[in-house]
């Protein structure tokens, strides 16, 4: 009744002259938001309603996209991230003002550090109350300034549609990132004609995608001269959709590839030139190769401290070529000899035609000789506990390595990074830069909704799972086939490991109790299993794969299992420690 009355009023107060003559309908601000999302091709919005967005939710049932009701706003942002990482399309989340908006902050920071395109919509209090400490008012554009690529508060109804166009453009181009749009409740209720801009132009935003050819030639010359070249493959290769070009480039030059944490999946680890994880928990031969290489070609990675270790000891003999779309990353952490600013895809296209074909057999043999055979043998052991490595390898084996794997942060994340063997892009979804506990389950929900054709495994620690296990209800409500592997050691394992190794085993506040996860699964109406020995791993995984809907497996592992190898904090990668237990 009230809505109908407002509509009549809106017609009479048409702001655009001749609107009725041209019969262009007036839309409410809420309808404009929905239309803009539809015009951007959005099929899913992760959200949570509240006071300031009630008018927007009023329009949602008529919108052409699916709304997923999460159980906590933070997980809406992370589900949107999971969706974005699995599909390559921007993720969208929608929450109310005040606490709804502040709960997004961690997710935005996560997307910012990992360069994930997210468009976050927050409701704001009505315009006359802004700045008056109104109920559920926070300055969310102020709060999110450092954790968004850009943000907006929309003040006029006519700016609404253009703001969405610009926000999606900024989120998805250049170095992708989260963009937040704050909309006062007043605007949802006003009316305006809908017109979605075709193009965006911002004077101050002109990302460089095609590199300077002179720099590309310098990079090619360095590659031609190198005897022990190494490629550091970063997330940027995936973000630019360049994995096939990258493979062509690697196979032509014969240069081995090491992966950053987020670079896993850019080049197959099963390929003879794919070496896998570098850095703090990188493979021994990988960090040894970094120490030894005479050319390091970084494509699309930002020399994060967990990847480099102590910078002064990082790749000490290498001539450094750094390809990055963000010029601010060049020379920020590591001295660079040849910077190449551009989109990885554009750079690789040019570089492929500039480089000569090559092989590096001696260098590959040297790298192979540095493998930690002892560790490989250790994997064959079958202790009384389910070995964490074996769990990850069993999931990889059962799914043919084709599953999407999401994780939280900590030991289970590192085991999953080391031992799955990622051969495909956009299947490894982890919180790299921010290291957000609770990431695994909501990102699995987003990933499964984005890629229903792929099997999804959320590998989660017992600590992180207790942060976001409320999202089981979302997974049930959406009836998602998600397999959850809780790697349960009863500890906040990575902190315990640091206390073990670097704080004289002073286990301070890391013993963490938990409910029975099997019974928790039952409470949510989903299948739950508990695995307590190695022999039960594969059958449990196989059973989980046959069950429809969410499934939880609680893998109760050795409480004090550590992640090996590890570079101690502050040390160079060459100072990494290896598994003492199995040292000969």
């Amino acid at each position: 009744m009230a809505a109908a009355k407002a509509a009549v009023l809106g017609q009479q107060n048409a702001e655009v002259p001749g609107a009725q003559r041209e019969a262009r309908p007036l839309l409410t601000g809420s309808e404009i938001v929905c239309r803009a999302l539809e015009d951007e091709g959005v099929d899913t919005v992760f959200g949570y309603p509240g006071g300031a967005v009630i008018p927007l939710y009023d329009a949602l049932p008529r919108a052409g996209f699916h709304h997923v009701l999460v159980r906590f706003e933070q997980w809406a942002a992370l589900a949107a991230e999971g969706y974005a990482r699995a599909t390559g399309k921007p993720g969208v989340c929608l929450v109310t003002s005040g606490p709804g908006a502040t709960n997004l902050v961690t997710g935005l920071a996560d997307a910012m550090l990992d360069s994930i395109p997210i468009v976050a919509i927050t409701g704001q209090v009505i315009q006359p109350l802004i700045g008056r400490d109104a109920f559920q008012e926070v300055d969310i554009t102020g709060i999110t300034l450092p954790v968004t690529k850009h943000n907006y508060m929309v003040n006029r109804i006519e700016d609404l549609a253009p703001t969405f166009k610009e926000a999606f453009h900024i989120a998805t181009t250049g170095r992708p990132g989260p963009v937040l749009i704050d909309i006062p409740k007043t605007l949802f209720l006003q009316k305006h004609v809908y017109s979605y801009p075709e193009t965006v132009f911002r004077r101050g935003y002109q990302p460089t995608s095609v590199p300077n050819m002179r720099q590309v030639r310098l990079a090619a010359e360095a590659i031609a001269k190198a005897r022990k070249p190494l490629i550091m493959a970063g997330h940027g290769i995936m973000l630019s959709g360049a994995t096939e070009l990258f493979r062509e480039f690697v196979e032509k030059t014969g240069i081995p590839v090491v992966h950053t944490l987020l670079g896993l999946g850019t080049f197959p680890e099963s390929h003879p030139l794919g070496l896998g994880l570098m850095g703090m928990h990188g493979h021994k031969q990988v960090n040894d190769a970094l120490d030894e290489c005479d050319l390091l070609l970084n494509i699309g990675a930002r020399f994060d401290d967990r990847a480099t270790g102590q910078v002064s000891g990082f790749a000490p003999n290498a001539f450094v070529v750094h390809v990055d779309i963000d010029p601010a990353e060049i020379g920020k952490n590591v001295r660079t000899d040849v910077p190449v600013v551009g989109d990885a895809r554009e750079v690789l296209k040019l570089l492929i035609s500039e480089v000569q074909g090559g092989r590096h057999d001696d260098w590959m043999a040297w790298i192979d000789s540095r493998r930690n055979r002892v560790l490989d043998e250790a994997l064959e052991e079958r202790p009384e506990w389910p070995e964490p490595y074996s769990i990850i390898k069993a999931i990889a084996k059962a799914t043919g390595g084709e599953a999407i794997v999401t994780t939280d942060v900590g030991q289970h994340q590192m085991w999953a990074a080391q031992h799955f063997g990622y051969d495909f892009p956009n299947r490894w979804i982890t919180s790299g830069g921010l290291g957000t506990m609770g990431f695994g389950l909501p990102s699995a929900i987003g990933a499964k909704i984005g890629r229903p054709d792929l099997e999804v495994w959320a590998v989660i620690g017992d600590g992180g799972f207790q942060m976001s296990c409320n999202e089981l209800a979302t997974a049930v409500q959406e009836n998602l086939d998600i397999n959850i592997a809780v790697i349960n050691n009863g500890y906040l394992g990575m902190v315990r490991q640091w206390q073990d190794l670097f704080h004289a085993k002073n286990y301070s506040e890391v013993k963490i109790g938990a409910p029975s996860f099997e019974k928790l699964a039952e409470a949510y109406g989903i299948a739950g299993m508990t695995v307590r020995c190695d022999a039960e791993i594969e059958p449990a995984i196989e059973r989980a794969r046959t069950i429809r809907g969410p499934v939880l497996i609680d893998f109760v592992i050795e409480p004090e299992a550590n992640v090996w190898p590890i570079v101690p904090p502050g040390a160079a990668n060459s100072g990494m420690l290896h598994q003492q237990r199995y040292e000969g």
Partner: protein, 187 residues
Amino acid sequence: MKNRHILSVLVEDHPGVLNRVVSLLRRRSFNIDSITVGHSEQPGVSRMTIVVIGRGEEVEQAGKQLYKLMEVLKVTDVTPLNCVAHELALIKVAAKSQTRSEILQIAQIYNARVVDASPSTLLIEATGPEQQVDGLLSMLKAFGIRELVRTGPVAMMRGSSTVGIKESTRPERELAVAGNGASPHAN
């Protein structure tokens, strides 16, 4: 070596742009010595003059980070360029009848003007390079400085060259510091 650098920053005149610039420099631990903002010759474009203290590569990084803000159109480190960098200071100095004429003489030496007076004070307006204002202040200190406000410098290149941006659809943008060859386009 840490040095003072004067950055001329052209920005779109949008709400909150000063907040974005200052917040960025703060969170990346760049030390702001002074900052001034005002209109430029182009409608809709403001000009900031930011004095930061840091090593050359740190200041280059600050410039690159500034370019990441949507509103930032051009960043120029004018320190190594031949430029005029002047600030304005208002100084309220204690003045008795015995000291008033001496203060006036000192002001004259520094090309400063007396813009207000009271039985116990003189209000002096000084403009010029920061060192000149520093010099004036050190001379006036003995009389008792009751109140002081300084703007920090604004800077402009001498001769016909400008830091302005051309009104083109794709402005060529560069950060005029000795760098490693990377052009600092925003991304």
